[in-house]
């Protein structure tokens, strides 16, 4: 791209704006933000097309897509669609839309992709177990002072810091 990317916003300014967005979400709709729920429902939607009988046998999936229930008929799906759209527009504006792979200097693209997939898998699994991801539990639950959300938040940081040392070659 001809012009250089704009710099990222100052973290405190970005945090304040994010906080106001989060507050408005609670103020207007009564609920916070989230991301993994939207992905979850998109996945269940695909599963339901491939194998509806299977959905009807698993209680966890049944709640979202059993019988004639449409898993996409839920507000979280629209929130996630908005997140994608907003992220893309902001990237365009900041001239940061660029096909690339971000990684530490010590590893190749292939390794980075495999690790990203494994990390994503752990994230997805953990997010369902904890009933929420960083946005839904830590951010939203933290702001409304839920005990479980604060315990969860410390656990995420603890897990990441505990392993950070062993993965230093990957990132540095």
């Amino acid at each position: 791209m001809a012009e250089r990317a704009r710099p990222y916003m100052n973290p405190y300014v970005a945090g304040t704006i994010l906080g106001i967005v989060l507050f408005l979400a609670f103020f207007i709709t009564g609920t916070g933000l989230g991301a993994s729920g939207g992905l979850n429902r998109a996945l269940v939607y695909a599963q339901n097309i491939i194998s509806p009988e299977h959905i009807d046998q698993v209680p966890y999936l049944l709640k979202m897509a059993g019988g004639s229930t449409n898993p996409l008929d839920n507000w979280i799906v629209y929130l996630t669609a908005g997140t994608l759209l907003g992220g893309f527009l902001s990237g365009l504006y900041g001239r940061r839309v660029k096909v690339e792979t971000n990684k530490g200097p010590g590893i190749g693209n292939g390794t980075r992709w495999v690790l990203a997939f494994i990390g994503g898998g752990l994230m997805g699994y953990g997010a369902r177990l904890a009933r929420g991801c960083t946005s839904g539990q830590a951010l939203s639950g933290g702001a409304v002072l839920s005990v479980g959300s604060w315990a969860f938040m410390f656990a995420v940081f603890a897990g990441a810091y505990a392993l950070a040392y062993f993965l230093r070659k990957v990132w540095n």
Binding site: P11, G37, Y78, G119
Partner: protein, 409 residues
């Protein structure tokens, strides 16, 4: 009456409410992207103490949102009871959090940030999103093998102020103090380890923090509305309903609800325990007046097709209980007209009614004498369905104003 959160579906219809969520999502995505969260290297740097952007953005967002939420609640603008607080499942949350922490450092994203990474062309983010989908798939397939753990240590809607037994304002100020101290520390660490890569705090940081603390102090001084405050806010419109007798339902209507398979009728008996032991309607729950507020918190979790019916011997105490529950924003609350006395009068046998009638009694005391504490083993406690009975129907199911699931449901 507090206006917020808005009854979106009622105001805008299903489509309209989805559009609002789309706009909120866009603001969310755009903010994550401009903060640099589409870049995995920036995210991972958090865990090597080089660039604490993740921590700073997240905690700034939490304290700003928290302060505004409890400030607007203190001034009666926002109904905190209608705000979704993720229920606490302590151990599944902690174990899930640890797994996610590992996933974070291995994969370099969290689900929300990987979305903005993927749409801005980061190939590693695309692989991460695929991984998340695979993880979710795997969870759906395996959760039944550890369902007991998944449902364990459930504590419901449980907040830090309840845990510590202090006011919400105190916790708000405490969290603010902790976050500001950590920000100060984060700047020191970045300067020591990250060197020039760290961004400087904006000039407005100190006045901004002072302003936030000032709002926290106002929140503490104003205090969160008590049940009495909450009733005062809605008294004008709600007492009209009481006077018009729009919420007092006849025994026949209650019996109809009990036998209606599409409705959950939850009966709340607020009489003294001794009266409850002598006689109560089958399935009615004994709830002392002083425990109503905390019970209301649990009742909020009932499914949307639930109708709550409060009862006392006559109506006086039930009416007070109704006010308490209405003030807590519980939907679909009604009073049993004429109370338990009227119920017995309607469904008791003639001889029983004649022989056991109590003359010259005080208001809201039992009108019939029971010699033994037979509870709900009396025939009048569980009449079969009387479809032929006529009554003036009053129950009208209202929609819940706020979603009953969180962002990751």
């Amino acid at each position: 009456m507090t206006i917020f959160p808005l009854p979106l579906t009622e105001l805008l219809g299903q489509q309209g409410s989805y559009f609002v969520y789309l706009l909120i999502g866009m603001a969310f995505g755009a903010t994550l992207e401009t903060a640099g969260f589409g870049n995995s290297k920036k995210l991972a740097a958090q865990f090597y103490f080089k660039d604490l952007t993740v921590f700073k953005v997240m905690f700034t967002a939490i304290i700003v949102a928290m302060t505004l939420i409890f400030l607007s609640s203190a001034f009666g603008l926002l109904d905190y009871n209608l705000v979704w607080v993720p229920p606490t499942y302590l151990w599944p949350g902690i174990v899930g959090g640890l797994i996610m922490g590992v996933g974070f450092i291995v994969g370099g994203f969290c689900p929300g940030t990987s979305l903005v990474g993927a749409v801005t062309g980061k190939i590693d983010a695309v692989f991460f999103v695929l991984g998340v989908l695979f993880g979710i798939f795997l969870f759906g397939e395996t959760v039944s093998s550890f369902a007991v753990f998944f449902e364990s240590s459930f504590m419901g809607r449980f907040t830090l102020p309840e845990l510590f037994g202090v006011d919400y304002g105190v916790v708000v100020l405490g969290v603010l103090a902790m976050a500001l101290f950590c920000f100060w520390g984060a700047e020191k660490i970045e300067a020591a380890i990250g060197g020039e890569s760290a961004q400087k705090a904006p000039r407005l940081a100190v006045p901004g923090a002072a302003f936030l603390v000032a709002l926290g102090v106002v929140t503490l001084l104003a205090g969160q509305p008590t049940n009495a405050d909450r009733w005062n806010m809605i008294e004008a419109e709600q007492s009209v309903l009481l006077e018009q007798r729009a919420v007092q339902i006849e025994p026949a209507e209650l019996l109809g609800l009990v036998h209606d398979t599409l409705i959950r009728a939850v009966m709340i008996d607020v009489r003294d325990e001794r009266h409850y032991n002598l006689f109560h309607i089958h399935d009615a729950r004994l709830v002392p007046m002083e425990r109503l507020v905390e019970t209301a918190e649990q009742l909020m979790q009932e499914p949307p097709n639930t109708v709550f019916v409060v009862m006392s011997n006559d109506e006086a105490r039930a009416t007070e209980a109704w006010k308490v529950l209405k003030a807590e924003s519980l939907p679909n609350v009604y009073i049993l007209e004429g109370g338990v006395n009227n119920w017995i009068r309607t469904y008791g046998e003639e001889t029983f009614l004649r022989d056991r009638y109590v003359m010259n009694r005080a208001d809201d005391t039992p009108a019939y004498r029971f010699e033994l504490a037979i509870g709900s083993r009396h025939p009048a406690a569980e009449p079969g369905s009387h479809d032929e009975d006529e009554f003036e129907p009053k129950v009208k199911l209202e929609q819940k104003r706020a979603p009953t699931s969180g962002g990751c449901g």
